[in-house]
């Protein structure tokens, strides 16, 4: 196979996103991902259909869920002959799976596939402490009951403290918010600008719901019919009242209002070749054009140049150059709002000629984005951010926006833990 083709984004389905320990508190990752697949199968009549493959993943994952996606497929209406695999690239998972499935379709290895992601911060895995874990493993290896009893006798109350997963980087011990706070301060991003972005996110998402934009992108789950975090009546005044929660010193700007909350949810995207879609009279919303990942050395680097969530800044010029495009050549921009300041530092970096010359190897600034084209139907600040599910939400929203417009291109940028990031281009079908 020497020729390639562009994979079609046919449609999508996700659960509404719930705040952690809210309506989905009792739902597991498998429940959520299965629900998203159920809705996708119902929307596109995929009952009993053998798809090429399903690729999905979760960031907070139980060890028993080693085959999470395959188990979800087996619990869904899809044919049990549909293979599946788990992918993990932190918050980039949802877009990375889309790229994986799209690339296989482009190469002719697949005719159809589903990309997705899921996360629950409510039903998170809790592990025992490392010392207790070693002790239990030793007990398991013990040859005699006496030996085992001796080991068990060594259990002390202090060992029983559970190890709860934290939203922090193993190599720095800093939470994502603390990392971003360093970068925010280094780039001098003002509190007001962050709050403005958050208000726009809520208002845009509310307007999209109002006009029925999500009617065919989302299926209610456990009686939740829209993203629970959405506050359609929020305002700059209300957000201004919130106290900063990340960072240190006098210049703290990041609040619960301009940061994403812990969220539960799942998303899926149906991809296929144009022929596969046409044979089933399925629509083609957009084509997946290209994607690029990048990573930064946030452990040793400077928080301004190599901030934890700045990898997409580096991925973007490489993606644009490969496709012969400039930053301004797009009709829609979807920049994942991990924090309002993440979006704003990303834009600031691309507008900074010195940074672009020094770090991106460009002759000048990468460019400016028309803010009226940015996250026009809201993003993670309003919808919430179930880590691995965000990519699928964004791909679906952008593909439908392009379909409604009938022409043009869209750009996606998603940052991820571990100093990683992924950017991608979609084009109207």
């Amino acid at each position: 196979m020497t020729t390639t083709r562009r994979a079609a984004i046919i449609g999508a389905n996700r659960t509404p996103f719930a705040r952690a320990n809210g309506p989905f508190a009792q739902a597991s990752n498998q429940d959520l991902l299965t629900a998203a697949l159920d809705g996708l199968a119902a929307r596109f009549g995929l009952q009993g259909e053998r798809l090429g493959e399903v690729a999905a993943g979760a960031v907070l994952k139980h060890s028993r869920d080693f085959n999470l996606t395959r188990e979800a497929v087996l619990g869904s209406p899809l044919s049990a002959a549909t293979p599946a695999y788990d992918v993990g690239q932190a918050c980039a998972t949802g877009l990375e799976t889309t790229a994986l499935v799209a690339n296989k379709i482009a190469l002719g290895q697949l005719e159809s596939g589903v990309a997705g992601g899921v996360d629950t911060a409510s039903d998170a895995p809790i592990a025992v402490s490392e010392d207790l874990r070693h002790l239990l493993l030793d007990a398991n290896r013990a040859r005699s009951p006496l030996e085992r009893a001796k080991l068990v006798a060594r259990v002390r109350p202090g060992l029983l403290k559970p190890s709860i997963p934290r939203n922090s980087e193993p190599r720095t011990g800093l939470s994502m918010g603390e990392h971003q706070a360093l970068t925010t301060e280094a780039w001098g991003i003002a509190r007001e600008a962050q709050d403005e972005l958050a208000v726009a996110s809520h208002h845009n998402l509310a307007a999209a719901y109002e006009r029925g934009f999500f009617d065919d992108l989302l299926t209610p789950f456990l009686k939740l019919t829209k993203d629970q975090n959405l506050r359609s009546d929020t305002s700059l005044e209300k957000l201004a009242e919130l106290r900063p929660v990340f960072g240190a010193g006098e210049h703290r700007t990041m609040t619960a209002g301009n940061s994403t909350p812990l969220t539960d949810g799942a998303s899926t995207v149906l991809l296929g070749s144009d022929e596969w879609a046409a044979e089933r009279r399925l629509p083609v919303l957009a084509h997946f054009v290209d994607a690029e990942t990048a990573a930064v050395d946030y452990v040793h680097g400077d928080p301004k140049d190599d901030g934890l969530l700045m990898a997409p800044v580096y991925a973007m010029p490489r993606l644009l150059a490969r496709n012969g495009l400039a930053l301004g050549d797009f009709d829609f921009y979807e920049i994942h709002e991990a924090f309002a300041s993440t979006v704003l530092t990303t834009l600031a970096a691309w507008e900074d000629a010195d940074f672009c010359r020094r770090r991106l190897g460009l002759p000048d600034a990468l460019g400016t984005i028309d803010r009226s084209r940015l996250n026009v139907n809201g993003s993670s600040l309003a919808a919430g951010h179930p880590f691995a599910a965000t990519g699928g939400r964004i791909v679906a929203t952008l593909a439908k926006l392009l379909h409604e417009k009938g022409s043009g291109r869209g750009l996606i940028s998603i940052c991820a833990a571990g100093g990683q990031g992924i950017v991608a281009i979609l084009e109207a079908a």
Binding site: D38, G39, A41, A42, R43, F44, G45, Q47, G48, P77, G212, F214, D215, D216, L218, T219, P220, F221, L222, K223, T225, R281, L282, P283
Partner: protein, 459 residues
């Protein structure tokens, strides 16, 4: 919801007690399962007056019905051809044929009387009281002939009230025989379990036999609104069982139940608010792009906002009329203007016995459901010109979430106030709709079929 009373009186001890006390004993009705024979036993055929119909025995035999019972055999059905009644004396033939074999009619037996419509008018008419009347046509007909033809209606309705053990009696007015086989198959089978004491008029129309009577809707696309639960979900299931690809539509907020229904029946889910200004456009675009058109449209979406008229708020009035009537009128008008429904198209809509008889606390609902009856009749000629049909189904008391909210005593009394002495099931309504949607029912149009067990009010 289980009918505990019915369970009790069908138990060994309960049966004896109910018998002694003369309490009503609702029967367990024979309901259709794919592969069931039309009848569990033989049918006895008879005639009153000279027949004007094609011979029925070969038609029934071909459908697997034994039409030659022995003199002492228990009977599953009595089929009386009264198409030739022309004088009062001919009516005596009805009694002569039915009297003895009625004693041999088995549980969930069927009496089907076949007659013709009075020439001077249509037997299916709506009177202010809710009963059927003859509307005279300007030409008039033979007074005696029309009188005795109308008499069949009274005989059948009374007989339906006399029958016990789940047996039903219905009248078929076979003015055109094209749909006769299809109508007989419906009425004899368990599909018509809760249809009792009803006249059905068979007019001219294309009524081709399906390739497979087990899957009469094979290859067809149907859409059902309000399909996330209750009667709508049952309709979707039965249409799918009969071979259709079913697009199930409901409000976006009902999407979870809708997806479950779609996945259960191998259909597709379409979130749609039927009251949205662009509902018809969205629906038809979807049907055209995804399915190349539609063959069957079932208007099922409906709501209640029950209050006495003096307490009814303007928005409660408006919401019911908007969902139950205005939206259907808009979508059906748009259907006629759009190029989306294929050859032999079918529209079936949900009315209610409340639309015939009225109901305390339901002025708004009754207005909408009576309006549906008017809509069906008014659209019928336009539909006929295209080779399509439009009909309604008027459920009586059906066991859904809606009746769970009734007070216990009211519910128990309401359940007994029909000839079958029980509430119907959603599948009973669905079976009637699936029949009206089938190719063989092409001769039935402009009618509202009641699925009410012969309600004592409004049937």
């Amino acid at each position: 919801m289980t009918d505990r009373y019915a369970e009790l009186v069908n138990s060994t001890v309960g049966r004896q007690i109910a018998g002694r006390l003369g309490l009503p004993r609702p029967a367990v009705l024979r309901r259709y399962k794919p592969g069931d024979p039309l009848l569990p036993g033989p049918a006895l055929l008879g005639a009153a007056g000279p027949s004007t119909l094609p011979p029925l025995a070969p038609l029934l035999e071909a459908a697997g019905v034994d039409t030659r019972p022995g003199p002492d055999d228990r009977l599953a059905a009595l089929i009386l051809d009264a198409s030739g009644v022309a004088g009062v004396d001919d009516l005596g033939g009805i009694r002569d044929f039915l009297a003895e074999p009625l004693r041999r009619l088995g549980p969930s037996g069927r009496v089907v009387v076949i007659g013709l419509s009075p020439e001077g008018g249509d037997v299916i008419g709506l009177s202010p009281e809710g009963g059927d009347v003859i509307g005279l046509s300007p030409e008039g007909g033979d007074v005696v002939v029309d009188s005795v033809r109308q008499a069949l209606d009274g005989v059948t309705r009374s007989l339906a009230k006399e029958l016990r053990r789940g047996a039903t009696a219905n009248l078929v007015l076979a003015d055109d025989p094209a749909s006769l086989e299809s109508a007989l198959r419906f009425l004899l089978s368990g599909r018509s379990a809760y249809v009792d004491g009803q006249p059905i008029r068979l007019g001219p129309g294309s009524a081709p036999d399906p390739d497979d009577w087990l899957r009469p809707l094979a290859g067809r696309t149907a859409v059902v609104t309000g399909a996330a639960r209750g009667i709508g979900a049952a309709i979707a299931e039965v249409l799918a069982r009969d071979g259709a690809h079913v697009v199930v539509a409901d409000l976006p907020s009902a999407g979870e139940g809708l997806a479950e229904v779609a996945n259960r029946i191998g259909g597709t889910a379409l979130p749609l608010d039927v009251t949205a200004p662009d509902a018809a456009a969205r629906l038809f675009t979807h049907l055209r792009e995804r399915h190349g058109g539609v063959d069957v449209l079932v208007h099922n979406a409906g709501i209640t906002r029950d209050r006495l008229l003096v307490n009814l708020k303007p928005d409660q009035w408006a919401a019911v009329l908007e969902v139950n009537l205005a939206a259907q009128l808009r979508i059906t008008e748009a259907l006629l203007a759009a190029d989306v429904m294929g050859e032999g198209g079918r529209v079936v809509t949900l009315s209610s016995t409340t639309g015939f008889a009225g109901n305390r606390g339901q002025t708004n609902y009754a207005a909408s459901k009576a309006g549906i009856i008017g809509m069906v009749r008014a659209f019928a000629p336009t539909f006929a010109a295209r080779g399509w049909t439009i009909n309604g189904v008027a459920p009586g008391l059906i066991d859904t979430d809606m009746i769970h909210s009734m007070p216990l005593a009211t519910r128990e009394v309401a359940r007994r106030l029909n000839s079958l002495q029980q509430a119907g099931l959603p599948i009973d309504v669905a079976e009637a709709i699936a029949w009206l949607a089938s190719p063989g029912a092409g001769g039935v149009t402009g009618q509202v079929l009641r699925v009410c067990g012969q309600n004592l009010v409004g049937a």
